[in-house]
């Protein structure tokens, strides 16, 4: 039972912070529709740096998306869209961080995560919900927004990680 006590502690703390931040985020809508800052993903970016094992990271992402979906309207759609895309985004972030450990910071890790996340969401929406979506026409604009929000999230996570003694 005591095999990975540290990881379990970190996961529970990060997941709870992430869920609370997700709630706070919904209280302050941005002027542009469909775009959110994604501050609930700050704990996940931090988790990529703190947790060295992929399965614990995936668990963190799974818990976060599942509980956020349960407490929001449109449970099934949220779950279908958010759950797989956050797992794929975490995969990309984990291996990117592993490959370029000394040459990259949380900023680019977060940008990669947010871009992969929005792309996966679009793919899932295209496959499952709106089949005639003109995919490539609107995706670039969302990716541009994802770069911006991802950089902001990465900057915040980077500062937090640097302050951790």
């Amino acid at each position: 039972m005591m095999a990975y006590p540290d990881n379990t502690k970190i996961i529970s703390i990060l997941a709870s912070i992430s869920i609370v931040l997700g709630f706070l985020e919904n209280l302050f809508p941005l002027p542009i529709p469909f775009i959110r800052l994604g501050i609930s993903n700050i704990p996940i970016v931090i988790g990529v740096y703190l947790i060295k094992e992929l399965r614990f990271l995936l668990l963190l992402g799974g818990i976060k998306s599942l509980i956020t979906a349960i407490f929001s309207t449109g449970f099934i759609f949220r779950l279908i869209i958010a759950f797989p895309s956050i797992l794929v985004a975490i995969l990309f972030m984990f291996y990117y961080h592993k490959a370029t450990k000394n040459y990259s910071s949380a900023i680019s890790t977060s940008v990669i995560g947010s871009v992969v996340n929005i792309t996966m969401q679009f793919i899932i929406i295209k496959l499952v919900i709106i089949k005639h979506l003109a995919f490539l026409k609107i995706l670039p604009y969302f990716i541009l927004a994802a770069i911006l929000t991802g950089a902001i999230v990465g900057l915040i996570s980077n500062n937090i990680l640097n302050k951790r003694g």
Partner: protein, 118 residues
């Protein structure tokens, strides 16, 4: 503060570049132009500039093709609506002359709009 490292800039610029590339190539769907005369379809080559006289089909009309755009420049119909419809260049564009039963249309596999309600 050890914040920005080389790969940050490389990755962000890379994704940015791909996005801009996607934005620029988004309008290049496969286009096929046709002239429709009396319910028959004749293919129209948009790459070849020039003026096409429709007299051989029995219509007093002229179609001009210029810079991958086509428009009707002469017609013997009364209202000249087909001439005022201007250039035909994007997916789903049309220039139609009802009295002569003639039209230029551009058909694509992918439409410019998701759907049109009429």
């Amino acid at each position: 503060m050890k914040s920005i490292k080389p790969f940050d800039i490389i990755v962000i610029l890379f994704i940015f570049g791909i996005t801009i590339y996607l934005m620029k190539t988004e309008n290049e769907a496969i286009k096929k132009a046709y002239i429709i005369i009396d319910e028959k379809k004749y293919p129209l080559n948009l790459d070849q500039n020039g003026i096409i006289d429709l007299k051989i089909y029995g219509k007093n009309m002229k179609v001009e093709v210029k810079d991958k755009k086509a428009h009707i420049i002469e017609s013997d119909c009364r209202d000249k609506i087909c001439i005022h419809m201007g250039y035909v260049k994007d997916c789903g564009d049309t220039a139609i002359c009802l009295p002569n039963k003639t039209a230029i249309v551009i058909e694509c596999e992918k439409n410019r709009y998701d759907g049109i309600s009429r």
